[in-house]
Structure formats: structure tokens, C-alpha cells
Point group: C2
Chain length 529, copies 2
């Protein structure tokens, strides 16, 4: 069963062994475990629903609690400490576009806000119920069917609430794949990916969701927006691009048509180490700009590399690896690169060879497939680390941005520096490390993870998070980064959006939302503060 | 010097020989040449400018006439027959964003409409001065500098009024290329490409302008919209996508940052013939879906193939070619495919080999590079054919759309059929032929050319064009195509836009324009009717 107060399935655990805990203790001190609130205790806090009845809406406290929050750190604090100060008044499970239209009419009639959601995996506060108004969470996960597969055009139309694994299973049965694998894959949905401009781990091959999303249907308070599929069009601004990233402010995506491709015959992930960050960054920039047919490039900085090796839990093997790398010039300050290739075996291997060859002048040491395959096995399990760390009294959070190449290293250092000292006022240290999660000819995403100790009470931990989030977000904005490369805006990033959109850009986005949603019932408070 | 009443430079001519004229005569009858109006006679018709003076605005009839119209067939009719029923009251030549802002203030103060323009190559009526209001054409071509080249991120920032050849020359001097080569390349501008969502002949390698346009600056009546460059972003809807295709309705693009790449070391164009349309279409679909590193695929249908061979003007060579093709199975009904490759020689040749191999099971006959290189030589000269045909009493016009694969052949036949009989009421035939100009995994653009005889007077020729344009446009809309894949909407396609955008989509686009341009002074009447 899915965890109500953490990531993923209750039956899956990701253990931290003594060495891993020793590593963390040395960096930021020993954590003190905190007792979790009970589900019953938490759900008992919910105020009585104030909603008029509706056949599609469930107002039981249990269902409301399970659909109240996402996976942002403030959401976790609420759940773990049992401080449920916000929850929708009900949860609707539409099964058709007609159901969604009915909910929109209900919302308009009663002045109730709607909060569309897929799998509730947002890490940016997309799902928080607005204060001061009644609200209904619209859980889209019953709309999950593959409705149409056009093999000639390689287009698949799904109900927008389909989960990642379900979508891939329906496509794989027919020989196709979408190829969209964000870390949230197991619990996130197609509609959520579109609404938040999601990007998957293999976007180098398959593209971001923007490139995959070819058309669909959006139910808005002003009517249905039908987005037909064209291979390309010069007929005015692209309405799809207004839906992408709209985060529920314009309406609810009910159907989405996506570009699919034949499932790859071959797939492999390899690891390469570099002696230093500057060597590694130069190498990956050259590789990505060469336009080779790779499916993934993911580069960890020295501290992330050290952290991953320390947390891997195979001390003997890792120390053998480190000795080998040291002999080959990768010592203190080494960086790990994961390279993925997919497709026809001959072409994939040729691309890999080419890429590996390009790393050599920069001191790249290819260590083969083993670590890459390990990474692949754990690609959706690493998120569980957050549960494990919490059990030992540590919080884990992340921020991410994207910048053009000349600012990649500057950004990485700025975010890490800002984070490292952000909790000094509490006498606490922050362990901050970074990887480039997605690489482009133009630049890269810069994805920083923070580990720090829990205080043990809700108020202090929320205050600590706020200090840290603000410091990291300001570093992003001040260094010219976008406030999100892949997580979206939600509530947590909304205060920083104007820095990149500008005064006029913000007013354009607001005008757009107000035009289709005159009563402002669609996910109020998110995206546009 | 540039022609005032036709395409291109006065010194360039594209002759039609006896065989070519014989071919046309046989298809649609012998043309009767029409005498052109003189420039002086035409400019003398312009009403006196009603504009208040401004240091940036030239109100002389000569300059106004040269900036009054584009290259649509109705524009040609006006110029050739000297019926100048529409012209701006003046032409401004801004040299900076500050100049553009000054023009916006002037326009707002005096209630004057602004018509932004680049090289005036629109074939969809983007430049027509609105009736019932004073207007100024804002000619952007003095803003043409390469302002910044970031070689690390492969981004170049230009003044938006830079012409294609000037842009490429500035980049090539530094070892880079944009790679955007629409047929209008010689006289179209970067800003025009962005404003109309242009696509170049080698988009398979370099992408459409949507993919190249990474940021920039737009002066709108509501202020400056600054679009920063990010490699990717999940921070809400993409404002660039509202500027792309906005056709001057939101404001004037003054600077654009575009993605560039190293100039290719190697480039080649090859021709392949197929025995039939269905064989050819299946082959190119498989080739494009294989994702090979090609730079161009361009497939002519049987009638276009016949027409191109007939108009080529090398009767003996062509008949040798046709004999050879016939022996190899390509007879009546054969189709010509152009394949382009660019990049590193070894990779380009490998991709070409792979593509050629894929055509074999479909009866593809590779005839080598000669025809391809000929095509390349003439890639920007074929437009001059329109001048030549006119001299012999023929009009040439085109329509284009894009559809997913299952509808490509249906669309091609529907547009050709509709066009062929569209002038029956005038007792005239239309010679209509088609190529797929841009190929995508999802589908293709369908680009149809019409040749028909001129009546010899403005009113009748305008009526004939209207009948033809309407018939072809209705065929596009009724068969689910976009009203433009690469030419934009302007005035001529505006009546058909709602068919794809829908009622709500149209109202969203209107709300957007009205929000930034409350007085509706920006290019009124275009895009949104």
C-alpha cells in the first residue's frame, strides 16, 4: 500500500548502513529520530467538510487526507508531525470529460476551488488547498486508458490520469514506449507531467514532455479547449504551450496525445569518472554538442560522487574502485558521469564509443556497465532514500534550475554555498551536493540535494526549511537561472517566477488565467501568486 | 536593385524555354502576356499621407509603395496591374529598441496602426495596411547586427531585422551557421521568421524557427517583454511560444537570440526516384521515423516530378534520365525524392547510406548527386519562376498545410482536386502539383503549387484567385490540416484559423493581443480577424 506520509510503497525500504550513517554524522552531525504521527491522529484534525453534496465527491477524512498534500518538504513536515492545517473539503474521482465538466459547473455554482491532481508527487506545493475558500481535489487517476494508438504517426492518446508504469505497460504490450522517466515515474501521471513541464531521465533521446505532448483536450471554466495534432504548424501561437506548465490554472487536461516510438531493442548505462569538475564539464559539453544518439548524460560533482559512493553500502567494492580510479588519475575531486544509450544495438554502441572517445582527452576513465546497471536498477528507488534518512533524523530536499553553459559552474557553486550556510543561525550544517541532471547543447540543469538534521518539532523544522529554500532560490534567481527546470512552480517557487517572466510576462500569464477562469476557481494561489 | 512588383533582384531572370511553355500550353492553354504598370504610375495613386511628422518616418510615395505589399498573389495583382488601393501612410526605419518604443508611443498618441515588417516576403497578406485607419510600416531591416555570440552555449543574438544571407555571413565568418533556409531566405528576416513560425528547407537537421529561437526582446504597447535564454524550463507556460507566430499583433521583436551550430564540414544532396506515390510515401515515412541524421527530405508527387523535369530545360538529358528510370521500374507515376545530409563527412555518408538502403525495398532508384546539386544551386532561384511565368501570362500560387501520416495522401488529393476544378466557372484549368516539403515522424507538410492563366484584368484575376484560394483552403480545413505549416496566417488565412484553434482558442489569442495592446494598434486585422 502506498505510504500516506512519505514516498512510495510501504513494502519498499532503502536501508542506510553504518558507514553511510557515519558519513552523514561526520558531515553534519548525528541525527535524532523523530516519532511519526499516526494516520488516525492526523485525519482526526481535519475540519468537517463544508461542501454541498455531489455524486462524484468523497468527503471522508481518510480520503481527503490521502489527497491533501504532495511530496514537498513542507508537505512532509505536515504529514510526519501530523500538523494537517490544510486539506481539501472533498476529493472527486472523475471517469470522463463529462464528469470533469460537471465538476467545473459545480465549482462555478458554489464558488468552490478545484485542485487537479495526478499521483500527488509534486515537490513544489502544487496541491495545497487554498485557505479561505472551500476546495475539491480532482483526482484524475481513474482516467487511465490508452484510447487510441496511431502506429502510422506514432501517436498515442491516453486518459490524462494514467500513471507512468501503467502507461508504459499499455504501450510496451504493443511494442512502443513513451520514454518519459522522471524520478517520480512510479507515482506521477501523464497529465501531471504536461501541467508541470516535466522532464525524464532519458530526455536526451525522447525529449521533454513539451516535445512529446502533441495535442489533447482541456476542460476549462470557459469551455473545452481542443488541441488537434499536427506534425508542425505556422498558424499563430501554439496553444499547447499555454497548457504546458499551466499547473491547473487554466483547466483540467482530460486526454493527451503523445509521440511514441518503437521500444528500443537495446539499452545500456555506463559510468565514466573524471579527475576534476572542470575536465568533466568540458567533456560533457563537447559530447552533448556533438549531437550523438545518446539517451542520457548525468554528471555528479565531486561531493555528490563522494556521497553516492559512501551511501552505496558496498565498502569493499567501492574501495577497490577508488584505488583503480586513483591509479588512473581520478582521486580527490573526481566526478562520476552516467551515459545511457538506447536503440538499435549497432547504432547505440557506435554512439557510446564515440562519446567515450571524446572523454579521453579530458582524463575520462570508463569503468564499464556495472555501476550504470546498478544506477538503472535503482533509478526509481533512490527516492526512497528520503524515507530512510528521515528515520535517522535527517531531512533531504532538492532544488533545481537550468542555465546556459557559461553559468553552469557559477550556479552550482552559488546554490551550494548559499545552502551550506543557510542554517548557521540554527547552529546546523547542510550537506549540499549537485549533479547536472539534463544536458543540452545550450546548457544544463543544475540539481542540488541538501541533507540536514531535523530539529524534532514542526515549527523549527518548517523555519529551517524556509531559510534553506529561500537561500537556494535567491541564489538561483540572482545567477540568472530559471526557478525550475523540471519540478514546476506550485506555491513554493511562485514568489520567484517574476524574476524570469518579468512584469509584463507575469501580467500576460495572469490575463490568460483570468480569461478562461473568470471566477478564479482553478487551483488558486499556484503558479501565479 | 530589388524588383518593386515581383520577386527578387531585377538582374536575375529564370527563363522558360519552348518546351516548358509547350508543357504548360498543353496542360492549361497558352498564356497571354499582360503589360505591367509602371512604378511612377502606381505610386502616383497613393493618397497623401495623413500622418503627423516624426523624425523616423518617411512619407514619400516611393518609399511607401515599396513597403506597401508582400508577395501574396493579391499583392502581386495590385502591383502588376498598378491598383494600389492600400498603402501605409509612412514608413519608419528604427535603428534601436529606443526608436521602436518611440514609434509605439507615437502610434498610441495619434491612434496610428503599426505594421512591422522585415523583407516584405509574406505570401499571406501580413503587410496590407488596414482600411479606415492611418498606419505606419515599421521596416526593421536597419537592426541587423550580430550583437553577441556565445560560443560556449552556441547562441547568437542579432538585431531582428537581419536578412538571411547577412545573418549567415556574419555567422560563417566565425565558423557557425543558423541553418534556416526558407525559400524566401534571400529577402526574409530573422524577426519575420519568428513572427510567422517559419521553417527552412533543412529543418530536419536544424529544426524549425521555434526550436532555434531561444530568447529576445519584444517592444509592446504595454512595455518591453524580455525573454531570457534557458536551456529548458518548467517555470510555467513558455512566453516565447506566444511571440512565435504572433505576426506583429503583440509588438515588435527587436532582438532575437538563436541557437547556432558549427558550420557543417560536408553537405550533399542526392536524388532518388520511386515507381509510385504509395511506394515513395511509405519509404520516406520509414526513413524519417528511423531518426537518421539527415538534413532534408523533400518528396515530389508524380505531377510535380513531371512538371519539374519538363521545366528543367534540358530535354536531352532528361530524356536519357527517364529512359534509365524506366528500365529500373520508374515510369509513369514516378516520384522524385531529394535527400540532404550535412555534418561530419563520415557520419553524413553513413546516414545517407542507411537512408538509401531503406528506399530499396520500395523500388527506390538512387540517381546520384547531380540532380541534388542542381536543386541546391537553384534552391533560392526557383522563386523567380513566378516572374518568368507571369511574363508569359501565367499566375503561380501555392498553399501548404501539415497533417499526420494517415491523412497525408488524402490531403494531397483533396487540395489538388479542389484546385483543379476551382476555375471551371471561368472556363479555365488549373495545373496543380504537390510535394511534401518537410517530413516528421508524425506526418508531413503538404505543399501544393497552382499554375493557371491570367485573365488580363485586375478584377477578374482577383476573383479567380479568390475562388482558387477558397477552394484549396476549404479542402485543407475539411481534411483536418493546419491552415499553414510555414507561411503563417496574415489576412489570407485568418478566416480559416478558428477551424483549428476552436472558439475558446481564438478567444484566448484575442485576449492575449488585447491585454498587451489595449488600443489595438499592432498590425490590426492580421492573424485574428
Amino acid at each position: 500500500m502506498r505510504r500516506w506520509n512519505g514516498w512510495g510503497d510501504e513494502s519498499v525500504a532503502f536501508a542506510l548502513n553504518e558507514e553511510a550513517l557515519g558519513f552523514l554524522a561526520q558531515r553534519i552531525g548525528t541525527g535524532t529520530p523523530v516519532a511519526d504521527a499516526e494516520f488516525e491522529q492526523a485525519s482526526a484534525q481535519l475540519k468537517v467538510s463544508r461542501l454541498p453534496e455531489h455524486r462524484l465527491i468523497d468527503t471522508s477524512p481518510e480520503v481527503r487526507l490521502r489527497n491533501a498534500l504532495g511530496q514537498s518538504l513542507p508537505d512532509w513536515l505536515r504529514l510526519r508531525y501530523g500538523v494537517i492545517d490544510t486539506a481539501p473539503d472533498g476529493v472527486a474521482y472523475p471517469e470522463s470529460a463529462q464528469d470533469v465538466r460537471e465538476l467545473l459547473e459545480y465549482a462555478a455554482l458554489h464558488g468552490v476551488a478545484l485542485i487537479p491532481q495526478g499521483g500527488g508527487t509534486s515537490v513544489a506545493g502544487h496541491l495545497t488547498a487554498p485557505s479561505g475558500t472551500r476546495s475539491v481535489a480532482v483526482n484524475m487517476t481513474r482516467m487511465r486508458q490508452l484510447l487510441y494508438l496511431d502506429t502510422e504517426s506514432q501517436l498515442a492518446t491516453f486518459g490524462a490520469g494514467v500513471f507512468g508504469p501503467d502507461l508504459e505497460a499499455q504501450l510496451r504490450a504493443r511494442g512502443y514506449t513513451l520514454g518519459h522517466f522522471p524520478q517520480s515515474f512510479e507515482y506521477s501521471t501523464l497529465g501531471g507531467w504536461v501541467a508541470t513541464r516535466s522532464s525524464g531521465q532519458q530526455s536526451l533521446r525522447y525529449g521533454r514532455i513539451e516535445q512529446m505532448f502533441r495535442g489533447g483536450s482541456v476542460e476549462t471554466p470557459a469551455g473545452t479547449l481542443h488541441l488537434p495534432t499536427f506534425p508542425a504548424s505556422a498558424a499563430g501561437p501554439d496553444l499547447r504551450e499555454m497548457v504546458l506548465g499551466s499547473e491547473g490554472r487554466l483547466g483540467i487536461l482530460t486526454e493527451a496525445t503523445v509521440r511514441v516510438t518503437a521500444a528500443p531493442a537495446y539499452e545500456a548505462f555506463h559510468a565514466v569518472f573524471f579527475p576534476s569538475w572542470s575536465a568533466a564539464e568540458t567533456a560533457v559539453r563537447q559530447v552533448v554538442q556533438a549531437g550523438l544518439s545518446l539517451s542520457m548524460l548525468r554528471l555528479s560533482n565531486p561531493l555528490e560522487t563522494t556521497t553516492m559512493l559512501a551511501l552505496a553500502g558496498h565498502k569493499r567494492m567501492i574501495s577497490l574502485l577508488e584505488r583503480y580510479l586513483s591509479l588512473r588519475g581520478c582521486k580527490q575531486g573526481k566526478c562520476m558521469l552516467m551515459i545511457g544509450v538506447s536503440g538499435r544495438k549497432s547504432l547505440a554502441r557506435a554512439a557510446l564509443r564515440e562519446a567515450l572517445g571524446m572523454t579521453l582527452p579530458h582524463g575520462g576513465v570508463h569503468v564499464g556497465r556495472m555501476m550504470g546497471e546498478k544506477w538503472k536498477q535503482n533509478r526509481f528507488r533512490n527516492v526512497y532514500l528520503r524515507n530512510a534518512a528521515w528515520q535517522h533524523g535527517y531531512a533531504i530536499d532538492t532544488v533545481e534550475t537550468a542555465v546556459d553553459w557559461p553559468r553552469v559552474e557559477i550556479m552550482m557553486r552559488a546554490v551550494e554555498s548559499a545552502a551550506t550556510v543557510a542554517l548557521a543561525q540554527y547552529g546546523e550544517k547542510v550537506h549540499a551536493y549537485t549533479h547536472l541532471s539534463h544536458l543540452y547543447a545550450q546548457g544544463a540543469s543544475v540539481y542540488t540535494t541538501f541533507v540536514y538534521r531535523l530539529a524534532g518539532d514542526y515549527e523549527t523544522d518548517l523555519a529551517r526549511w524556509k531559510s534553506l529554500k529561500k537561500a537556494a532560490s535567491m541564489a538561483i534567481v540572482e545567477n540568472g537561472g530559471t526557478i525550475s527546470h523540471q519540478h514546476g512552480v506550485g506555491s513554493d517557487h511562485a514568489p520567484y517566477l517574476a524574476a524570469e517572466k518579468g512584469r509584463l510576462g507575469m501580467s500576460v500569464l495572469r490575463a490568460l488565467a483570468e480569461h478562461v477562469d473568470t471566477q478564479q476557481i482553478m487551483n488558486p494561489g499556484k503558479l501565479l501568486p
